[in-house]
């Protein structure tokens, strides 16, 4: 690490649990509601794999003016989380020193889906659905969202998207730390967002990865993942920026498996290296870690690989849990949501539990946190993420005492 580690001054989260950290913690403590059939997209599948969807009252209850239109759901979700995190911005930071980095995979895709479907159905008549959908196409490119957030929040620094599948959120936060370390920015709003879309819903279904009921990460009978939607952001700043920082981004590690388009390297070596790089950068011994917030999707391959990597990096064991049975797998938002939950866990002295494992997998030798969680001081948290294409990204969150 070439410079001091950045502070986390503000956080924001929107998920199936609602808006804000308190709502998320409440869900984690009581286990949250089970997933249900999608409402904002047409499933087209029978039986219908359940999902975790942001409730409509999150938008109706918001006092902020939100982007309108069916194709801008990601922007609505992201805006609420971003506004909450950005509220911690000190007054004296020049606009051109504030950046926005957003991890996302399918923001804007709904507008593209609708347009492509309309094109397939209509003729060349002038006033056809494809012509009427034209304005929404401005929001299809991935860079539209960060630029929209930057304009809304008055940020004049770099504003762009990171898209590395399910590691997008953690990669965005790590990339933001690089912007601060380089001296380009003093503060960066970084996180991830994804909303439900037919592309990903049918895509994961085509791969046979959607569970028919609530997911059970690390269980022997785990049957796949539940898609979710949501957004989470952290406001990063160089040390001394915030009067009362919530936490510190102590370290990060990013690696690639160079193995397969969708499956991780079976021996978990890529994830393990990312864990080691992150811990080394954080100057943190494995024994200093209080909790590993696992990626834990509930798919047979991911959980086995991740477990092997964690066991290799933490030979003396460490409490591990996934929270995707509460939030679902929110794709690009997953790592960012996990990071915000890590910050919240420190503040609340509470380690969220994993889904109930009725049939343990003998091949997974992890110290899985029981569903009710553990009330204990939490100083250092490791956030794991793995993504399609073999990307791995790990963050280390602590209080800055080291």
């Amino acid at each position: 690490m070439s410079g001091p580690r950045p502070e986390i001054g503000g956080v924001g989260i929107v998920s199936v649990c609602g808006r804000g950290v308190a709502a998320a913690l409440a869900c984690l403590r009581d286990g949250g509601a089970p997933p249900g059939a999608p409402r904002s997209i047409a499933s087209g599948l029978e039986p219908t794999p359940p999902v975790f969807e942001v409730p409509d009252d999150v938008f109706t209850a918001a006092s902020e003016t939100l982007p309108a239109g069916r194709g801008r759901r990601s922007q609505r979700i992201a805006t609420l989380a971003a506004v909450d995190a950005f509220a911690a911005l000190p007054r004296d930071v020049p606009a051109e020193r504030i950046g926005v980095v957003v991890g996302t995979t399918v923001t804007g895709i709904r507008a593209a889906e609708d347009w492509i479907d309309a094109r397939a159905a209509d003729t060349r008549a002038a006033d056809t659905p494809s012509q009427r959908n034209r304005p929404a196409l401005r929001h299809v490119p991935l860079q539209a969202l960060p630029r929209s957030l930057a304009r809304r929040l008055g940020c004049a620094g770099p504003a762009y998207s990171v898209s590395t599948a399910c590691t997008s959120g953690t990669q965005a936060i790590a990339t933001a730390a690089g912007l601060i370390d380089s001296g380009r920015c003093d503060v960066v709003l970084a996180g991830g967002v994804d909303s439900l879309a037919r592309l990903t819903y049918h895509g994961f279904a085509s791969l046979g990865l959607l569970a028919p009921s609530r997911c059970t990460p690390f269980a022997r009978d785990r049957a796949g993942l539940n898609l979710g939607e949501g957004a989470a952001f952290v406001l990063l700043g160089r040390p001394g920026t915030f009067d009362a920082p919530l936490a510190r981004l102590a370290g990060w590690g990013s690696t690639a498996d160079a193995h397969h388009a969708t499956a991780p390297r079976p021996d978990g070596s890529g994830v393990r290296r990312a864990l080691c790089v992150a811990l080394n950068r954080a100057e943190c011994a494995p024994s200093d870690v209080d909790w590993v917030h696992a990626h834990g999707t509930g798919t047979p391959t991911n959980d086995a690989v991740e477990a092997a990597a964690i066991c290799g990096a933490f030979p003396d064991g460490v409490p591990v849990s996934s929270t995707k049975h509460v939030f679902g797998h929110t794709l690009a938002a997953a790592g960012a949501i996990a990071t915000v939950v890590a910050v919240a866990a420190r503040s609340a002295s509470y380690i969220p539990g994993n889904a109930l494992i009725r049939t343990p997998d003998p091949a997974i030798e992890l110290d899985v946190v029981p569903p009710e969680g553990v009330h204990a001081p939490v100083e250092t948290v490791v956030v794991n993420s793995l993504g399609f294409g073999g990307t791995n990204c790990v963050l280390v969150i602590d209080g800055g005492s080291r």
Partner: protein, 363 residues
């Protein structure tokens, strides 16, 4: 201005050729201008993954966009292969995998949802372009994909330079790729951005209100840390800046400016404004060329232009570089600025000849 790093390899695929070597052998007057006759024409490359990636495992299954990116990457690393496993990969793309996304959505429409193509889905993600590159080259360092519209390459370059300077990787392969697709053209045409002229792009058109002719391509640079111990430097220097550097006029004689106007009204007006704003920074003998005149306009144009410029400089480096006989005063040391005028900002990539921090550096 970000301190420079060294470029030690370059590769590109575009309408001018399936490699920089092929493009060099093509007359400048030879312009590929294909697609629908007359209006809405484009500058496609002739790239085909199955044909143009001989010996690459799995090449026949790669889409054109991923194939172009891989071909450009392979050319960029040719002099340094095999790369260290810790090498990082940073990729930029404005539109991502359009062909695969459209193909998947078509396969999943209506009652066909249960028959949707898993292959098309896994290829539709932005990260899907980077994974085959990493797999083919055997590199397992940090892998990052960024999307920043017409500045995707510059954003990727900045992240790559930061990775090198932070010691996150010994080398960084950085590039960008965007492939032509009729849907992209139609979407841009909805906003009046596509030229209705059947004439090939020329310098005059780039400064008028005629819209763009779409191109496609991929460009990659292989970056190494700058040398600070006085050892011979075998690469050219590159840095990305957010505004055109204020070079001392006496050190900038013969400066080259690659202006990436795309032919739209917005671009033409911003180009004029940028030139007027920075006129005092540029000597009157600056050579200005327009890569879009031969390549078309596309999100990753700056990547191809930068790869071409890096390749030109790498080939021009003589045997005395970095030695006692190298005074660094050669007129060939004049910087080249790749000036990218986008919708909301201007970015520039600056090339120098010696891979060291240029004297007369920006104030």
């Amino acid at each position: 201005m970000t301190p420079p790093v060294r470029v030690v390899g370059a590769g590109a695929v575009s309408a001018r050729g399936k490699s920089l070597a092929e493009a060099r052998n093509r007359p400048a007057s030879d312009r590929t201008f294909a697609g629908p006759a007359g209006a809405r024409a484009a500058y496609p490359s002739s790239f085909d993954s199955r044909r143009d990636l001989p010996g690459v495992p799995g090449a026949r299954r790669l889409g054109r966009q991923t194939g172009m990116a891989l071909a450009a990457a392979l050319e960029a690393i040719a002099s340094r292969a095999p790369l260290p496993e810790e090498t990082a990969l940073v990729l930029g793309t404005a539109h991502g995998a359009v062909a695969e996304t459209v193909a998947f959505l078509d396969s999943a429409r209506g009652e066909n949802a249960r028959y949707a193509s898993p292959t098309a889905f896994s290829g539709s993600l932005h990260a899907s372009m980077a994974a085959p590159i990493g797999r083919t080259l055997g590199i397992r360092g940090p892998m990052l994909v960024v999307s920043d519209g017409d500045h995707s390459f510059e954003t990727a370059l900045f992240a790559a330079i930061q990775m090198l300077r932070a010691g996150e990787a010994p080398l960084v392969l950085v590039g960008a790729c965007d492939a032509y697709h009729p849907m992209t053209r139609e979407a841009l045409d909805n906003f009046g951005a596509i030229s209705t002229s059947s004439q090939a792009i020329d310098a005059a058109m780039l400064r008028t209100e005629r819209g763009m002719h779409l191109g496609e391509g991929a460009g990659f640079l292989l970056l190494a840390p700058d040398t600070t111990d006085g050892s011979p430097c075998d690469g050219v220097g590159v840095a990305q800046v957010d505004r055109v550097a204020a070079w001392r006029r006496d050190r900038a004689r013969g400066m080259r400016i690659l202006a990436l106007a795309d032919g739209t009204t917005r671009s033409a007006r911003l180009h004029t404004a940028a030139r007027q704003a920075h006129r005092s920074d540029w000597p009157s003998d600056a050579q200005i060329t327009h890569p879009a005149a031969n390549l078309g306009a596309f999100g990753s144009l700056s990547a191809v232009a930068c790869a071409d410029e890096a390749d030109r400089r790498l080939r021009d480096l003589g045997p005395d570089v970095g030695t006692d006989s190298d005074t660094g005063d050669d007129a060939g040391d004049a910087p080249t600025i790749v000036l990218n005028v986008g919708e909301e900002r201007v970015t520039s990539v600056v090339f120098t000849g010696r891979g060291t921090h240029p004297t007369g550096a920006p104030e």
